[in-house]
Symmetry: C2
Subunit: 149 residues, 2 copies
């Protein structure tokens, strides 16, 4: 067992899970703030040079886990590791956000899909991406194709 601690908290317009856009074609354009605790703020030096960040966070309002999940984007169940279900063995969430502005320990970002008050575990620069033509998206691409037909 490994212990993790919050390095800060998300300030988000979403107060309840039902407020967060989900499923096929959901757009995450919401703006919010990553409030980093003062004791960790020195770790943000030079972060303003990155356009996008990985935010690691905790599904702190999710209870327990299941090994299969029924994502909102499909009517079939899939293994939890083939989904982004919050009910996972380690309830880590990952969001890529666009960094709009830094104001000391407050990072103004776009692309929030977390609830207000969500604990932040880590932030890393988003550096590279897989070219679209090399990417296969498994059941999600199939579910999208079914949704369009």
């Amino acid at each position: 067992m490994y212990s993790m601690q919050a390095i800060g908290y998300v300030r988000s317009p979403y107060r309840e899970t039902k407020d967060i856009p989900k499923g096929l074609g959901a757009k995450h354009e919401a703006e919010g703030v990553l409030e980093i605790l003062s004791e960790f703020a020195a770790g943000l030096a030079d972060i303003e040079g990155f356009s996008h960040l990985y935010v690691f966070w905790l599904f702190d309002r999710s209870q327990g886990y299941e090994l299969t999940a029924s994502p909102p984007s499909d009517n079939r169940t899939h293994g939890v590791f083939a989904t982004r279900s919050p009910r996972r063995p380690n309830a880590i969430g990952l969001t890529v956000v666009e960094l709009l502005r830094c104001d000391g320990p407050l990072l103004q970002v776009r692309g929030i899909d977390m609830l207000d008050g969500t604990p932040i575990l880590d932030i890393k620069p988003y550096l590279s991406s897989i070219p679209a033509e090399k990417l296969r998206r498994g059941w999600l691409a199939e579910a999208e194709a079914r949704g369009k037909s």
Copy 2:
């Protein structure tokens, strides 16, 4: 404080940190295996449809943390959250791997940059990417440009 548990372990050709390619232009083409513990293997259902996976893992051989880091790709220090330093407040690593083959609880993957025996915390499908023309890479792009001149 939040507790995390290993869902499996990485089988990697890298036994020591010095074996892992680092710095500007480092290529991660090494193949390895994600060995998922049998009690979590049902969570892998349908994962074979994805070409790439996010692997969340623990820098289990890293001790403590510092708020600034000197990455191998630059001779300047940066805030730890603007780097991928292992010495972070929560020692979570993230690697995007290419999924080559599934054999029950064993995922054969390419793109390993973890040490052999590294605990795996989570796996998620890699679904989308930021278009290259929208991506800014901060100090790393600058360090690359300096390295070329």
